[in-house]
Symmetry: C2
Amino acid sequence: MPKKPEILHRSMVAQSRLFRIESFDLRFSNGVERTYERLVPGGTGAVMMVALLDNEHLALIREYGGGIEDYTLTLPKGAIDLGETMRDACNRELQEEIGFAAREFIHLKKMSLSPSYMSGGIDVVLVRDLYPSQLEGDEPEPLELVKWPLAKIHELYAHQDCTEGRAIAALAVAQEYLAGRYPGTPL
Amino acid sequence: MPKKPEILHRSMVAQSRLFRIESFDLRFSNGVERTYERLVPGGTGAVMMVALLDNEHLALIREYGGGIEDYTLTLPKGAIDLGETMRDACNRELQEEIGFAAREFIHLKKMSLSPSYMSGGIDVVLVRDLYPSQLEGDEPEPLELVKWPLAKIHELYAHQDCTEGRAIAALAVAQEYLAGRYPGTPL
């Protein structure tokens, strides 16, 4: 593993309601100096859930993505609110987004969005043993719940409405976990 | 598929050397109005390559991620330069980052990074039939090439240095393609 570059200087260069952009000057171990920029998210983290509705189906949501200006088929997810545990956040988001709560939570992986340009990340959690329970969320319109067969995840990867890299990654890791080839940690 | 919300107003709210942040007011089909923000990347797209070094190994790179301020194990990737085809960009980045060029390029999927907050995306391409060829890139230090067995991709998912969601997603889609369960398009 190479020696990490030294951070010479760091400053905030732009800020909006949701985003902060930080600039920092680095000196690599070979002496080369560069200025990098990265996005620093606010808040205390985020969770993405692979929620099993039964032994053969998972829960997808269809929601409007402001970034791509179109509807997208993806996994339930959301920010961890201040004071919430990761398990609390998962259970709240599930109730807000798909109308179910869960009894079993297995942490699979903390994923980064873009290690080059963004700090932070999202924790991927497999949730099982669901039961109906609804909470009012902050969604501008109700999300559509789509029940997808686990046996057809490869067809979901090819679906034109399913484009979110980290959702595909979460599904791949969950499949390996369910096949007994990947470790998980109960929450 | 729901009717897309109407965009009432759009403006640029912050800008740095690398990032632009856009704010836009939406009216959803149920009448609810919201203000969204999204990141708008510059440039003409980006590519990420699953590069097969032989029938049993793929090419990973270990590079410094300014976003996470640490080294990370991920796939070769980079921006498509003005005037380049996607195939040109793949072949240039491969030569800059791993010291190989390729003869076969199969487009697998255009992935979004965060459909909620970011426009744009990255095109995932499987490359095969490699031969040694080096180009000088703009990396501040040489990248380490790591040869990883295809049969151990599930161990890579669990590796603490491999965190990038879209790289894991690209590997999952490539595995389905190689298993004959996912369509690809030759470039």
